[in-house]
């Protein structure tokens, strides 16, 4: 098992805890509303936005539906430029490869560029077990690492922390990891960023090895791309002697020219900027410039499982922008930890079950239900992943994995199917329900918009289901009874 937070309960329980945390909810509401407004403004500037989305989706599909060819070409192009290419079936193999490279150089520390793939495989923990310290250098990752915390957002892993909490973490934990925080550190973001600059600079200057991911890997040329803001990525990609990049096999794009689409859609969707401060591209080893020893680890770890899912494979188009998190009404209220994975929010609700199997454990199988299916994620997605459709399909897979079942829903569905399969049975049931409706309409305490009476609480096994839902009282007259009485509406009259 990888990429999950050990011991995290299923989504409903975790969400309940998160909803009770008023500090968390206020931090999240502030952060997500800020980023939504910025994204909307810069997306609105681009007249051809929809055309860019369509092209982005097609480029990724082109690579994914012919993945073997693209991977083999990428491998050849990388090797041609002096890169050692490794393949890793799972997290353990990938971590072992990175650890072996570090040990071959006799190193006990390395610096890291923020990378979802290395989070997913728990690389830092695996390296620590071999006595190698992996220093996170992205500001938010540093906050999470120093706070001994878990990431809760793809782009801003410390989105659940406010400035006062970050100041406290820096004051408490920086000294043990290297240069301490200044004594007079305030909670101004600029001062906090400056403290991180000083703390990390000594690590950059002495680092001999770095680990990165890649936002894109170009099959045609062997070019890797890292998109970032702070310059920590440039430090890691430029200063050390050895660079290992862990790249999911779905990161491949066919051609250099394809980048023109993603370099327009990713920054605007992600940080809400026309362009992120720094984008680095490199094609293997450049003599005299940057690391002279390079490795690329091509990682499967469940991606081929997702690829085999005809409906779900579109999730592999994801470019990790996190726009879907920021627009999601569920994510905004529960935060990322409730999803129990490094991939939270709407994309996490489909990606985790696809990578691990929808019935991998109770936590994973609760994720396809962590959504109201409102569709905001699909609209925001720059590569048009139809997340609601995939969620519904995964829900069906979860249900299928549990047949036969004694759950009340399953029993109710079986009874319904028995009822609906015979006209006579349905007629009798409708008669009974009309009678019940007449009684209930009299006692129903609440009414739905439109004035129809609703039942507030079902008895017996339905009590849990109706706790958060209003069930309309059954209509007094069924459609078929009305049809008979009025001759198909031709002699419309008042109900007797």
């Amino acid at each position: 098992m990888t990429g999950t937070f050990v011991g995290m309960p299923a989504f409903p329980a975790a969400a309940r805890t998160a909803l009770a945390d008023t500090q968390l909810r206020s931090n999240l509401a502030h952060a997500t509303s800020t980023i939504r407004a910025k994204r909307e403004a810069v997306v609105g500037e681009v007249e051809q936005w929809e055309e860019l989305r369509l092209s982005g989706a097609a480029i990724k599909d082109r690579a994914l539906l012919d993945l073997e060819d693209h991977l083999v070409r990428l491998e050849a192009a990388l090797q041609d430029r002096g890169v050692t290419v490794h393949w890793a079936r799972d997290a353990d193999e990938a971590c072992a490869i990175v650890g072996d490279v570090a040990q071959a150089h006799g190193l006990d520390e390395l610096v890291k560029v923020k990378s979802m793939a290395t989070q997913e495989i728990d690389l830092n923990e695996a390296l620590a077990a071999r006595g190698i310290a992996a220093w996170e250098t992205d500001l938010a990752e540093l906050i999470v690492q120093l706070g001994d915390d878990l990431p809760s957002h793809i782009l801003v892993p410390a989105i659940h922390r406010n400035r006062a909490e970050i100041r406290a973490i820096f004051r408490r934990a920086m000294a043990a990891a290297g240069r301490p925080a200044p004594d007079d550190l305030s909670d101004e973001p600029a001062e906090l960023a400056a403290a991180a600059r000083l703390h990390l600079r000594e690590k950059f200057l002495r680092a001999r090895m770095a680990v990165s991911g890649a936002n894109f890997a170009v099959a045609e040329t062997g070019t890797l791309v890292v998109v970032e803001s702070e310059g920590n990525g440039r430090m890691c990609l430029t200063l050390p002697e050895v660079l290992v990049s862990v790249v999911g096999i779905e990161k491949v794009v066919p051609t250099w020219e394809d980048l023109e689409v993603f370099l327009q859609t990713l920054p605007r969707s992600s940080t809400g900027e026309r362009m992120n401060p720094y984008t680095s591209t490199w094609t293997g080893v450049t003599p005299g410039d940057g690391p002279q020893e390079m490795h690329v680890v091509l990682l499967d770890n469940g991606r081929t499982r997702a690829l085999a899912d005809e409906v779900g494979r579109q999730a592999l188009r994801c470019i990790r922008c996190s726009a879907c998190l920021n627009v999601c009404p569920v994510y905004e209220r529960t935060g990322g930890h409730a999803y129990g994975s490094v991939y939270p929010g709407p994309i996490g609700a489909i990606l985790n079950p696809l990578l691990r199997g929808p019935d991998a454990d109770e936590q994973t199988e609760s994720l396809p239900y962590a959504s109201s299916l409102c569709g905001a994620c699909f609209e925001a997605c720059p590569v048009r992943i139809d997340i609601p459709t995939v969620l519904v399909d995964l829900r069906a897979q979860v249900v299928d994995a549990h047949r036969p079942s004694r759950k009340p829903e399953a029993l109710a569905m079986r009874a319904t199917s028995w009822l609906f399969s015979s006209a006579e049975r349905l007629r009798r049931a409708e008669g009974a329900s009309g009678l019940a409706g007449r009684v209930m309409e009299r006692f129903g305490r609440r009414s739905a918009p439109g004035g129809r009476r609703t039942l507030s609480r079902l008895p017996g096994p339905g009590v849990g289901w109706s706790r958060a839902r209003d069930l309309p009282a059954p209509p007094v007259e069924s459609f078929r009874a009305w049809w008979r009485r009025t001759d198909g509406g031709r002699s419309e009259g008042d109900r007797s």
Binding site: T34, E230, T238, E260, T271, R274
Partner: protein, 204 residues
């Protein structure tokens, strides 16, 4: 079976339902880019990132450079940089620690992108290896008006992926604290673009 063979076998099995036709990529987003006001737009958008822009005539580059570098002690000058500088330090294989003791770096650019306010370095003559324009705290970048292209698409078409590239849009920044943007983290905290164009008054 090696990991490589097994992963490729898994890929083949996963795609057994696919008919093998190549997906056609629509390029309808490519529309003729506006070419008027390119340089003004570039300047506007670079300033949006809170970078400093000075527009100057080719004849007054020396003065503008001196002004941009005023107060700096040691200035790193990559080989091939077109303007001689009095306090210039050459890159004689400086270590990262050496670079950290230098106040500023001057470079040329390969192109500028108007739509996004981006400058692109490809680390050849006049720009130097990537670390040079990264470690010093002030980056002064010389961009000629005729190097400014309209959009990202035009830039990608002109650039050769075999050389390493750094796309720079403003000074280093972070939004990691409450998604408030703070300029200046690990890369140069100040970016100063000198835009050289014939239209400017020679004395200005």
């Amino acid at each position: 079976m090696s990991a490589r063979e097994e992963i490729l076998r898994r890929v083949r099995t996963a795609l057994a339902d696919v008919d093998g036709r190549q997906v056609v990529v629509p390029r309808d987003y490519r529309v003729p880019a506006p070419t008027d006001g390119l340089v003004d737009r570039f300047v506007d958008r670079v300033q949006d990132y809170r970078a400093t822009v000075t527009r100057c005539h080719p004849a007054s580059v020396d003065g503008a450079l001196a002004e941009a570098l005023s107060g700096c002690g040691r200035v790193l000058v990559p080989s091939g940089f077109p303007v001689p500088l009095a306090r210039g330090v050459e890159d004689a294989g400086l270590s990262a620690v050496d670079l950290d003791e230098i106040d500023a770096v001057v470079t040329t650019a390969t192109l500028g992108i108007a739509e996004t306010g981006t400058i692109v370095l490809t680390h050849g003559d006049g720009q130097g290896r990537r670390a040079l324009s990264l470690v010093p705290d002030l980056h002064v970048c010389l961009v000629r008006a005729d190097q400014v292209v309209a959009g990202v698409g035009e830039a990608v078409a002109l650039l050769d992926p075999r050389a390493p590239q750094t796309w720079i849009s403003g000074p280093s920044a972070t939004s990691d604290i409450e998604l408030d943007r703070v300029e200046g983290v690990h890369g140069p905290r100040t970016l100063h673009v000198l835009l050289v164009e014939d239209g400017q008054p020679p004395g200005g």
